[in-house]
């Protein structure tokens, strides 16, 4: 029988069919962070249940830790220190892997797991965090779970999972200069809505995807959740294998050879049928920016803010009206005429070394517009080190960006640091929800290049117009 890549991984991990379309699925890797992993570890300990295969459970500190230089366990997040300390204590006691604050490998959970070679093609990987599908970029079947499920996964090395429907999204053609994976995923969500992927596991394919570097593939898969999908992945290829070879937790020697031979078979058989298929013509995609409070509220940088009156669906129309009010924008305004107060580069979507290079290319020799607060937060300690060694950190600082320690930082607001009331931020993150980056903070999502260009101009800007 012909199978999609999703079905191949699913079948290999199926321990039992539980009926009603649900299966008991074997879980290869479990990741935790101090925000939601803390409660899972604590609650598991209280239940007296043991962790099965501790060596395959990994924990880091990313959500609550401050990202100021010279940080420690103290954090601006109210009660945050308790999350850090509880997580550390529980992780050390249980014997799982911990990448603590003092460790160079510390960073955003979805950035460090491919970086360390912990996530691998064909593995199942879970984390009580919605952006776990990021790991699909290297060909893992990965998805976000709840805290109770994390306990289930730790105690049994399995999860009860509803079999997803399958979807293939073909990004056809090649990307114009200055267009990135971020623009692709925003475009998909804009065209097919934030709930277009509900219930699906998605394979991203097509020429444009094949041409993406591994780190860009991670960006693409990162935002499958913003599309509503359960998971998303890209078939591994030579680029993937080159990327993984020699990473600390990647297989070596004979195991590497064995892995490689099975990874090479990890693709959708020709003639397999997906439950749904979407085609996107990439040649027409321009830099995309969101204007509202859902990732589906997005348009090309050269377009004007849409008019809700033209939306026929009443639910969508009222959401648009509410979004415009929150964002303090008028229909018909050209995006490029909207001034910004701040610029943020970071998050599991866009904080890897290639993202920082892309932004640095734009920033080099330029200065952040006066009055714009600009911050760059590398995704991991190793990304930070590499950027410093390459001179990228210096470019950011010379341009007027703050250069931070790794973590989630202002991707989300937890009562600590924020951009402030009604401040308008151009951000390389993944969520523009109300209050996501701070009480009444207004977020515009875009690629790191677009963020850098906008920081220089002081307005939402077209990166293609920067020299």
């Amino acid at each position: 029988m012909k199978k999609t890549i999703i079905e191949k991984i699913w079948d290999q991990h199926k321990i039992a069919d539980l009926g009603n379309n649900k299966c008991l699925i074997y879980i290869d890797r479990i990741f935790l962070h101090e925000r939601t992993g803390s409660i899972a570890l604590k609650s598991l300990e209280a239940s007296g249940r043991k962790i099965r295969n501790k060596a395959e459970v990994f924990c880091t500190m990313d959500h609550i830790v401050d990202t100021f230089q010279g940080r420690n366990d103290k954090t601006l997040v109210p009660g945050g220190t308790a999350f850090i300390e509880t997580t550390r204590k529980a992780a050390l006691k249980s014997g799982i892997n911990l990448f603590d604050l003092s460790d160079d490998r510390q960073g955003i959970v979805h950035v460090i797991s491919p970086e360390q070679g912990i996530a691998l093609p064909g593995l199942t990987a879970v984390c009580p965090d919605s952006h776990t599908a990021t790991l699909g970029g290297i060909g893992a079947l990965a998805w976000g779970i709840g805290s109770t499920e994390a306990e289930h996964a730790m105690a049994t090395k399995t999860l009860i999972v509803k079999k997803p429907k399958t979807m293939r999204v073909n990004f056809n053609g090649t990307l114009a200069k200055g267009i990135t994976a971020k623009d692709l995923i925003l475009k998909l969500i804009g065209e097919h809505t934030a709930s277009g992927g509900i219930g699906y596991a998605i394979e991203f394919s097509g020429e444009a995807v094949e041409n993406l570097a591994i780190e860009e593939r991670l960006t693409l898969c990162n935002m499958t959740i913003e599309f509503g999908a359960w998971s998303g992945l890209i078939a591994p290829d030579d680029k993937t294998f080159d990327y993984l070879k020699g990473r600390p937790f990647a297989p070596e020697g004979k195991d590497w050879e064995l892995a490689l031979s099975s990874w090479k078979l990890l693709k959708t058989d020709i003639g397999s049928i997906f439950d749904h298929e979407i085609n996107i013509d990439c040649s027409k995609i321009t830099p995309q920016i969101t204007w509202g409070t859902s990732p589906m509220h997005e348009i090309g940088v050269n377009q004007n803010i849409p008019d809700p009156a033209e939306e026929k669906d009443l639910g969508k129309r009222s959401a648009m009206e509410k979004a415009l009010k929150y964002m303090s924008l008028e229909p018909g305004t050209p995006l490029e005429e909207i001034p910004i107060d701040a610029a943020f580069i970071g998050s599991c979507t866009n904080s890897r070394i290639t993202d920082l290079r892309e932004a640095a290319n734009i920033l080099k020799g330029n200065k952040v517009a006066s009055g714009v607060k600009a911050i760059c937060v590398p995704g991991s300690g190793l990304v930070k080190k590499a950027a410093e060694a390459e001179g990228i950190a210096q470019i950011f600082m010379d341009a007027g960006f703050e250069w931070r320690e790794p973590g989630c930082s202002m991707c989300f607001y937890a009562g600590g640091e924020s951009f402030g009331l009604e401040e308008r931020v151009i951000s390389s993150t993944n969520r523009n929800f109300e209050n996501r980056q701070g009480p009444r903070t207004r977020t515009h999502l875009a690629s790191p290049a677009t963020v850098a260009a906008s920081a220089i101009k002081g307005y939402l800007a077209d990166v293609r117009k920067i020299d």
């Binding site: 039992a16 976000g144 709840g146 805290s147 709930s195 359960w230 009562g415 969520r431 209050n435």
Partner: protein, 208 residues
């Protein structure tokens, strides 16, 4: 986990689409490493007049009588999308919500509901709108949900049937602990690993 069989209660409509878990409970309201003490933070950005404040905003429906006692919520499509935080479900539960009716839900949120004794019901958009319209009436806003029969009775005594997977239904009806159920399959899981490690030794970081 508390069982869910039948519920007759006040229902409140919050009819927007894409209500995400950041809205259901903002991250700053998750103050302790605990599943409890979260209901104060439920819908905090909508419920209170100021961010971080505690003065109730009279415009928000859950602050208005009789909806202050609602146990059922109606909402637009994609309810509970966004962050995986189970705190959203713990906060809803602690506040008193036992069932949510919407045209669709965020996947992770849906599973989290079932695991914590909240019944998520998927109904056609049209049916959700009809019911939501009825419960806007302050006098007639009680609906009845029977999970055994999978039917909803509206305030005007119309019946709507709904579908839920047999396993989710069973888990809610019996208030099951999923981990304990899976642990009964320990031998089967062990046997799977023993076989799997032979074909995928590279996938195992713990080899014994």
């Amino acid at each position: 986990m508390e069982k869910f069989t039948k519920l007759e209660a006040i229902a409140a409509p919050i009819m927007q689409i894409n209500i995400d878990t950041d809205v259901i409970i903002p991250s700053r309201e998750m103050k302790h490493v605990s599943k409890n003490g979260l209901s104060d933070g439920l819908f905090a950005n909508w419920r209170y007049t100021k961010p971080g404040g505690r003065k109730l905003d009279p415009d928000f429906i859950l602050n208005q009588k009789p909806y202050t006692k609602a146990k059922i919520l109606f909402s637009g499509a994609n309810f509970g999308c966004g962050s995986s935080r189970e705190h959203a479900v713990w906060a809803l539960y602690e506040w008193g919500i036992r069932a949510i009716i919407a045209p669709s839900f965020g996947d992770i949120f849906f599973g989290n509901c079932v695991r914590n004794g909240i019944l998520p019901i998927v109904l056609e958009n049209q049916a959700v709108l009809e019911l939501a319209n009825q419960i806007k009436n302050e006098e007639k806003n009680r609906i009845e949900i029977d999970l055994n029969k999978c039917v909803i009775r509206s305030p005007s005594n119309e019946y709507y049937s709904f579908n839920i997977s047999a396993s989710d239904r069973k888990m809610l009806l019996e208030g099951m602990d999923e981990i304990a159920v899976t642990q009964k399959r320990d031998d089967q899981i062990f046997a799977f690993q023993e076989k799997d490690i032979l074909s995928r030794p590279w996938a195992y970081l713990e080899k014994n």
